[in-house]
């Protein structure tokens, strides 16, 4: 079963990695199983739930649908890279509002929200809801998490 493994370089959360991967390995698989970054979740592996969302070159993508070879030479940002202390305004707002419950959706939601706020620092509620439409949350009903993202956007705008 010798399949051509490929050497790939990529940058995850500011650290350069050189890894060997099968061409069909997903970025999700490499992050979780090879690099031990299990903060990025897997809920379906078929692009249906959003729990695996990370940012590649600043854009939110489903890491389960993203072949790791495509990430070669690119910059990947995961939940673990968001802040040293867990005090990024998105994290703080969600904790403050008890906005999530099991929070398995949380890392994906935060990365979707981060990508939104990076390009649109003052979104409306509808824009936040649109940005989260690919992130299923089964526990909360979304209300408090949308509120938290809006609060975080204000906080980030203030600190600029």
């Amino acid at each position: 079963m010798a399949r051509a493994r490929k050497r790939i370089s990529l940058n995850v959360n500011g650290t350069d990695y050189s890894i060997e991967a099968n061409p069909y390995d997903s970025l999700n698989w490499i992050l979780r199983e090879e690099l031990g970054l299990t903060g990025t979740k897997r809920g379906c592996d078929t692009g249906g739930c959003g729990s695996c969302t990370v940012m590649v070159d600043g854009k939110a993508i489903y890491s389960c649908m993203y072949p790791v070879v495509k990430a070669a030479g690119k910059t990947v940002e995961t939940i673990e890279g968001l802040s040293e202390e867990g005090d990024h305004p998105l994290q703080s707002a969600i904790v403050r509002n008890s906005a999530l419950q099991c929070a398995y959706c949380g890392p994906g939601i935060i990365m979707s929200a981060k990508s939104l706020l990076d390009s649109n620092p003052t979104p409306t509620e509808t824009e936040v809801r649109e940005a989260l439409v690919g992130n299923i949350c089964r526990c909360t009903g979304y209300g408090k998490v949308v509120k938290s993202i809006l609060e975080a956007s204000i906080e980030i705008a203030k600190s600029r």
């Binding site: 079963m1 099968n22 979780r32 970054l37 299990t38 903060g39 990025t40 979740k41 897997r42 809920g43 379906c44 592996d45 078929t46 692009g47 249906g48 739930c49 729990s51 995961t78 939940i79 673990e80 968001l82 802040s83 867990g86 994290q91 969600i94 904790v95 403050r96 509002n97 008890s98 906005a99 999530l100 419950q101 099991c102 929070a103 398995y104 959706c105 949380g106 890392p107 935060i110 936040v128 809801r129 649109e130 989260l132 439409v133 992130n135 299923i136 949350c137 089964r138 526990c139 909360t140 009903g141 979304y142 209300g143 408090k144 949308v146």
Partner: protein, 790 residues
């Protein structure tokens, strides 16, 4: 001082209870550091994969594993012939770990492989060749109820069952696994006194829990024959018992550790991949992880039982329901689904806890079919029964031209009334929740409809009651350490509900210390004491009480030690922020000074000056239901009842059947909100999960096969289009609840479906009798109504 005064005094003195304390688990989760079951791994572990049946019903003729066994990197292959020939099931032992001679649903486990990588395991599973002889199958529950039906379990009479859930064998209905009957008053004479008879048939579809973290287990066979399992289960002790039953190992030899859980909603009260992981670990002598895919979660875990409900009411002109005859048929799928038998019983509690009906008959029948097994699901049978009853209440009101709220109030059960199973009702505050929802829903306001166009507005209401089951038990242990930390040992998995925070608040309240002083251990059956699991909205109440008692026990020991040290009577001492101070005096001592360390300064162990251990146990006994009359043997069958009122405002497009849900109000009497933000979260989330089941969720079978077992085709509520839920919290204390609290997890899911169906009728005059309320069904109902009008 009167007791109410004392109560009020205590309330104002509460330091952490009733405060929206920051959740103790969220920061770890929001930084990606929290380890969930699916994230867990061990060095050099193997990956397991399960071979599953493609047939809804077939005989297994031959399983050829040769090619799989010889594949490079495969470390173990198992079929039914490699594992104990035992059947398991919490309430009925009917389920094989791997199918032996017959498969009964698409997705049933037939064989399994452990290999060095997941990729090899997947390849090996494909190499296993199974020869089947397909058998006729049945998935329609009413067909399965017939005498001539295909028989799913020919050996049913030989299966073992738990005492409270005997199998009711019926030679005329070979697929009936369980049948409960309630007979109260005289239904026939009730109907003869009635002015009107209203009868209907309602249905619910197979809904999936769809917890976001797929089920997963890691197992390790220890060198001395013990087994360790890491599983994000809702009930570590239940998993332990099931593994013990299957493998015939004593429970003390099995250790279950539960990491964080990405939601469960009832599904993970039951074993899923644990038994296969254990068998593979035993065979390969290596740790094995069996992580289900999303598709496997859909096809091969559990669903919410689809119900068919027949309801017939005899009603007096003034709206009094004088007789009610209900028959509910549960599509149980291929197996008992762990708790399926008790869903068949417990749905009774949903039917007898809101209205006082003098003559009442109820039959609930759980039927085996070739569908995926039905099991515990948030709401536990109440939801499906409530769906029918609360639609029916509106049907009666419409038919008799009575006010929809009035008819509910007229028939309400009151404190002191006996319900149909003989329980004496405690003061359940139905009036309160009704009032609070009506304040928002404003049914008295003139209808605000569009002047033209296809959209019509409507409002809907439902009144429901969720029971909390009994008998169950919870235990807690606290260990107070000399650095002013208290470790709480409990077996309550943090499934997402915020329970770790609730326990921390309670322990900190009783020890009068900061919440941050409390560390919650996480379940590990080797160390953490017994708990009946995260089910039936029971943990705030049961585990809450146990935690409170354990902390009080520790506090008492602290006071005893301090009293000796300070030479002050205990009654003159109080504990505050890890200091014991004399009331109206000057003496004080720190808790750390009550420990005497050994000469190396590495630990305190001496009796009277070592670790402080506090213990608490909460247990409630209730009566059982008589098999013939359904009457309870005592005046209580459940722990408590929780009233819920749900109101909705919708718009329906009469040309397309499309519905927009504008507002949802849900009021629930929680007794005491120990953490108000968490309570709100439970209400919002429960209502929205219910909304999914109400409008879009259904696992669809075609030719016996699920055809939408993925998240593209199985629709759940998303951020866009999910309305804002207004949570309304009432607090009428529960006498035995910790600080008056009841559980809140399930109530919110029970009323949303009927409220929506009733709102559609209000908007269009058309009624849909089965959930989900899809646009196609709504449109068909509108068209039917239009035809009838002509």
């Amino acid at each position: 001082m009167s007791t109410t005064q004392q109560q009020e005094e205590r309330e104002t003195l509460l330091r952490h209870i009733g405060k929206s304390v920051t959740r103790v688990d969220l920061k770890a989760k929001m930084t990606g550091r929290a380890i969930y079951g699916y994230d867990f791994s061990l060095p050099h572990m193997l990956h397991g994969k399960i071979k599953r049946s493609p047939y809804p019903h077939a005989r297994i003729l031959k399983i050829d594993t040769e090619a799989a066994r010889t594949l490079n990197g495969v470390r173990a292959v198992i079929t039914a012939w490699d594992v104990p020939n035992s059947l398991y099931g919490v309430m009925l032992k009917d389920t094989p770990m791997l199918a032996r001679d017959r498969v009964r649903y698409v997705g049933e486990a037939v064989a399994a492989v452990a290999a060095d990588s997941l990729e090899i395991a997947e390849e090996a599973v494909d190499l296993i060749k199974v020869e089947y002889a397909p058998l006729p199958y049945v998935t329609n529950v009413e067909k399965a109820l017939e005498k001539e039906s295909v028989v799913i379990h020919p050996d049913l009479p030989t299966y073992k069952a738990g005492p409270p859930f005997p199998v009711r064998i019926d030679p005329n209905r070979p697929n009936v696994g369980n049948h409960y009957h309630v007979e109260h008053g005289n239904v026939e004479s009730g109907f003869s006194e009635a002015d009107f008879v209203v009868q209907n048939r309602f249905e619910t579809a197979a809904m999936q829990h769809m917890h976001l973290e797929p089920s997963c287990a890691v197992a390790r066979a220890e060198p001395d024959g013990r087994v360790t399992i890491w599983s994000a289960t809702q009930s570590p002790y239940m998993i332990r018992q099931q593994i013990s039953d299957i493998f015939q190992i004593s429970t003390s030899r099995i250790r279950v550790i539960a990491p964080y859980e990405g939601g469960g909603f009832g599904s993970r009260l039951e074993v899923h991949s644990e038994p296969v992981a254990v068998a593979l670990a035993m065979k390969s002598r290596k740790p094995v992880k069996v992580a289900l895919t999303r598709e496997e979660v859909f096809t091969s875990t559990l669903v919410r039982h689809p119900f068919v409900v027949y309801i017939k009411d005899g009603v007096k002109r003034d709206g009094t329901i004088i007789a009610r005859d209900m028959k509910v048929i549960l599509n149980g799928g291929a197996y008992s689904g762990g708790f399926g038998m008790s869903v068949c019983r417990n749905c009774i509690f949903g039917a007898v806890s809101t209205y006082n009906i003098a003559n009442f008959r109820f039959d609930s029948i759980r039927v085996f079919t070739n569908a995926p097994p039905g099991g515990a699901f948030r709401g536990y049978g109440s939801t499906q029964v409530d769906w029918a009853i609360e639609c029916q209440m509106d049907c009666i009101a419409n038919e008799l031209h009575l006010d929809k709220i009035q008819i509910r109030r007229r028939n309400l059960l009151h404190a002191g009334d006996r319900n149909a199973i003989g329980e004496t009702m405690k003061d359940v505050n139905h009036h309160g929740v009704v009032e609070r929802v009506l304040e928002k829903l404003r049914l008295d306001e003139p209808r605000q409809d569009y002047d033209s166009g296809p959209w019509r507005r409507g409002k809907g209401f439902a009144l429901t009651t969720k029971y909390t089951t009994a008998p169950t038990a919870s235990a807690a242990t606290v260990r107070v350490l000399d650095d002013h930390t208290v470790i709480l040992f409990v077996s309550g998995t943090e499934i997402g509900a915020g329970s770790d925070t609730i326990y921390s608040q309670i322990v900190a309240e009783e020890l009068n210390c900061p919440v941050e002083s409390v560390i919650v251990s996480g379940p590990d059956t080797m160390f953490t004491p017994f708990d009946d699991g995260a089910n039936s909205s029971r943990r705030t109440y049961y585990l809450g009480n146990a935690c409170r008692m354990a902390a009080q026990d520790a506090r008492q020991q602290i006071l005893e030690r301090a009293s000796r040290a300070l030479q002050v009577p205990e009654s003159n001492l109080m504990v505050e922020d890890w200091k014991i101070v004399e009331r109206n005096g000057s003496k004080s001592i720190k808790v750390s000074e009550l420990f005497l360390k050994d000469q190396t300064r590495s630990g305190a162990f001496l009796p009277g000056s070592g670790d402080l251990i506090g213990r608490g146990v909460w247990h409630e006994r209730v009566g059982f239901l008589d098999p013939v009359t359904g009457r309870c043997t005592t005046d209580r069958a459940v722990t408590y009842y929780t009233p819920v009122a749900t109101g909705v405002e919708v718009e329906v497009n009469e040309e397309t059947g499309f519905m927009r849900v504008l507002n949802i109000y849900c009021a629930i009497d929680v007794g005491k909100a120990i953490n108000p933000l968490s309570v709100e979260g439970q209400i919002e989330g429960g209502v929205v999960q219910g909304l999914g089941g109400a409008i879009c969720e259904e696992l669809i079978l075609q030719d016996g096969k699920p055809i939408n077992a993925n998240l593209a085709d199985y629709k759940v509520p998303l951020s866009l289009g999910t309305p804002h839920v207004q949570a309304i919290v009432l607090e009428s204390p529960e006498a035995n609840g910790p600080y008056g609290a009841r559980g809140v997890g399930e109530g919110p899911i029970t009323g949303i479906s009927p409220a929506l169906a009733n709102a559609i009728v209000d908007a269009t005059g058309a009624r849909v009798y089965d959930i989900p309320l899809t646009p196609e069904k709504i449109l068909a109902a509108i068209n039917l109504k239009a035809k009838q009008r002509k």
